[in-house]
């Protein structure tokens, strides 16, 4: 009887359960949740080349930059903007807000152009005369503001041109004549130049409601996009739906854990108890990894973690079955534990390596959900190797060396059971 061995066994168990019980909630709160769990919208844009010319690296970066400026103008907390597949921009916004408005601000370019002459187009719509383009929104400072015109009371947008000399030259040339302002191809204002403007400022009227004026000011300030963006996918998850999924999956996980715990104890008795402690350590360590990096947890990711629990349990089952074999072959409990664990390790490594390879390939080729799943799968394989193999082996060895429970029946094995 060696109480010190049993003491260290108890110590390990107490530390694991204590740590898990004490800090799990704190860790959980640090894990960033995916949009499918907390709600939000996810948008995917394709950067379209202009005039069939290939996209340039600088242009792509500028587009990314412009999207970032635009998203920031929405005031959403911690938006995620990533370049995918070389020519796609994904934007993820958490929380609930107006999807249409967000899409408009991110994806649409306010093309503001001032022309010197117009003509009637096909469907009786005024169109600019080619070659009379005077100046565009690209030449403006990012300080456009919306306001009300002091005389008419109509909403207007005040803008400033970067090149003051150019604007002065234009207003001089067109003094007393009319210039035509087009927004996104539609004529919104035709105004007679009253005086030469030296300070580069001007006012755009005909912009609709105050809200639309503010929107236009925002779009102008966000700068023009070097390439047009085409929205190719959008996903919108209501926050309540996300919370409902999270609650349901966590509940399912909890029920599964309790059932697996009971199953393991019923079949492997004390060894099953050790496996259960190893599962607690597994769950705790995975949360630690997710909170530490941090890795965003999605719904498929959560499913992978619960499945990973199955992998962790499998490692224990392989080891225990191996030990039972060794006991059947007539070894003492202690030497069976040592030999069985050693032999089982190779099996576990080979079988987990193949699953890990599948995870790696998924990570490489997957997008979004599949990636979240692959990361969770790989994390859970590594963690389960640590807990199910090394931790539960150490605990089992301490317990058998303590000689407190010498009868193999304590471990669900029978000495010399099925004869040779």
């Amino acid at each position: 009887m060696k109480w010190s061995r049993f003491g260290s066994f108890l110590l390990i168990a107490v530390i694991i359960i204590g740590l898990a019980a004490g800090t799990t909630m704190k860790l959980w709160r640090q894990i960033p949740l995916g949009l499918d769990l907390k709600g939000g919208i996810s948008l995917l844009y394709k950067i379209e080349p202009v005039n069939n010319e290939p996209l340039t690296q600088a242009g792509i970066e500028a587009a990314l930059q412009a999207v970032e400026t635009r998203v920031n103008s929405l005031g959403v907390s911690s938006p995620q903007i990533n370049l995918e597949n070389g020519n796609e921009i994904s934007v993820q916004l958490a929380g609930a807000f107006n999807q249409a408005q967000a899409e408009q601000i991110i994806g649409e370019t306010a093309v503001l152009q001032i022309y010197g002459n117009i003509k009637m187009g096909k469907d009786n719509k005024p169109v600019p005369v080619p070659g009379t383009l005077l100046i565009t929104g690209r030449d403006m400072e990012s300080n456009a503001t919306a306001g009300l015109d002091s005389t008419t009371g109509q909403p207007v947008v005040d803008v400033t041109f970067k090149n003051k000399a150019l604007w002065a030259k234009i207003t001089k040339e067109y003094l007393g004549k009319t210039v035509y302002t087009f927004l996104n191809g539609n004529l919104i204002q035709s105004a007679t130049v009253q005086s030469v403007i030296e300070n580069g400022q001007t006012q755009i009227s005909g912009v609709g409601s105050m809200q639309q004026a503010q929107q236009l000011a925002k779009e102008l300030n966000a700068g023009s996009l070097p390439y047009p963006l085409k929205q190719i996918a959008s996903t919108n998850v209501g926050p309540q739906l996300g919370a409902a999924s999270l609650r349901a999956t966590l509940y399912a996980g909890l029920v599964a854990i309790v059932l697996i715990f009971l199953f393991m104890i019923a079949i492997y008795r004390l060894a099953g108890l050790i496996a259960d402690i190893a599962i607690i350590a597994y769950a705790y360590l995975t949360l630690l990894v997710f909170a530490g990096f941090p890795i965003t947890l999605t719904l498929p990711g959560l499913a992978a973690l619960i499945l990973g629990m199955g992998i962790a349990v499998d490692a224990n089952i392989i080891t225990y079955e191996r030990i039972k074999d060794e006991v059947r072959n007539g070894r003492s409990l202690q030497s069976a534990t040592i030999a069985g664990s050693k032999r089982a390790l190779r099996t576990i490594l080979d079988s987990n390596a193949t699953t890990f390879i599948a995870g790696l390939v998924m990570f490489w080729f997957g997008q979004g959900d599949v990636r979240g799943f692959a990361i969770a799968l790989m994390v859970s394989i590594i963690v389960s190797l640590l807990t199910a193999v090394f931790l539960s082996r150490t605990m089992l060895l301490q317990l058998t060396k303590s000689n407190l429970f010498r009868n193999p029946a304590w471990y669900g094995a029978r000495k010399g059971g099925a004869g040779k």
Partner: protein
């Protein structure tokens, strides 16, 4: 060890059974094909948790009042209590249409949560499905290489046959029951690929070990050895699939609506994976490995 049921020598049964299932699956495929979700087919999918019993007629009426009529076959009822409506639009909804849906839903269904809208452009749908197929093929290829290095190529081939068998059965079940195939389904098939080979390797590992301990001298002995190895690992095979199934079943019954199809694929795949590891992969390896024994016997008797 007293050998119980002789699995290896009854392999013809299992090969026939699996062939029948595979052929049945193939016919289902050819006849009906997949029920592709928006991830693979362009369009919009709106999922609304109504929090009341879904009546398709009522949803239809609401949609046509909102100016977005769809064929009633595009409205499906989902969720444990049938309280979630899934509406598929063959075209990509505009922002205005989505806004209309979002604003209108609570007028007709007072307890409804905000609709979840997924929209996919044909271009993305195409790219996604191509990537999914590549992922499965490449994962299989890398697994073959790994197993061929760690074991031998015949184990790798037998393992891959079992793996594709499982992936195929999962796909057949989805085609048969018209369950929607989306990106998470791909993740599920990939998990099955990983699990199936994992399960098979444990048995192969035992065969490899027994081959070293007592190298069989004849085809008969080889069959006995594999059969023994199967029974030595049987408890593990059953206990493991039982625990993983517990987790998958709980996710199926209590997990959220959005992973319902995912866990269904897992459950089918797990059962098929456990079955194919024991009844397909190992006997198949015996057939391949046994050839050299049969040849040797022929040479000796000649």
């Amino acid at each position: 060890m007293n050998v119980k049921f002789d699995i290896v020598r009854r392999r013809a049964w299992f090969f026939t059974l699996s062939s029948l299932i595979t052929v049945a699956g193939l016919i289902v495929f050819l006849v009906s094909g997949f029920n592709l979700g928006t991830d693979f087919k362009a369009g919009s999918q709106v999922q609304i948790q109504l929090n009341e019993k879904v009546h398709t007629a009522k949803v239809d009426e609401w949609l046509s009042d909102a100016g977005l009529p769809v064929a009633s076959s595009n409205v499906t009822v989902a969720g444990l209590n049938g309280e979630t409506a899934i509406i598929r639009f063959p075209e990509v909804l505009t922002n205005q249409q989505i806004n209309t849906l979002t604003n209108d839903v609570t007028k007709v269904f007072p307890n409804a949560l905000q609709p979840q809208v997924n929209t996919v452009d044909p271009f993305v749908a195409n790219q996604t499905s191509r990537k999914a197929v590549w992922a499965v093929l490449l994962a299989s290829l890398f697994i073959v290489i790994y197993v061929a290095i760690r074991f031998e190529y015949r184990f790798a081939l037998a393992g891959i046959v079992a793996l594709l068998h499982d992936a195929f059965i999962v796909m057949s079940v989805f085609a048969l029951f018209r369950v929607e195939v989306n990106l998470t389904f791909v993740a599920a098939v990939l998990t099955i690929v990983g699990y199936s080979i994992n399960d098979t390797i444990v048995i192969f590992d035992r065969i490899r070990e027994n081959m070293k301990l007592t190298p069989p001298k004849s085809y008969e002995e080889l069959q006995d050895l594999v059969n023994q190895s199967l029974w030595q690992t049987m408890t593990r095979s059953i206990n493991t699939v039982a625990t993983v199934l517990i987790a998958a079943l709980m996710l199926f019954f209590f997990g959220g609506q959005s992973i319902h199809d995912f866990t269904l694929a897992l459950i089918v795949g797990l059962i098929s994976g456990a079955y194919s590891s024991i009844f397909i992969a190992a006997p198949l390896w015996v057939v391949w490995r046994g050839r050299s024994y049969i040849r040797k016997t022929q040479v000796e008797s000649a």
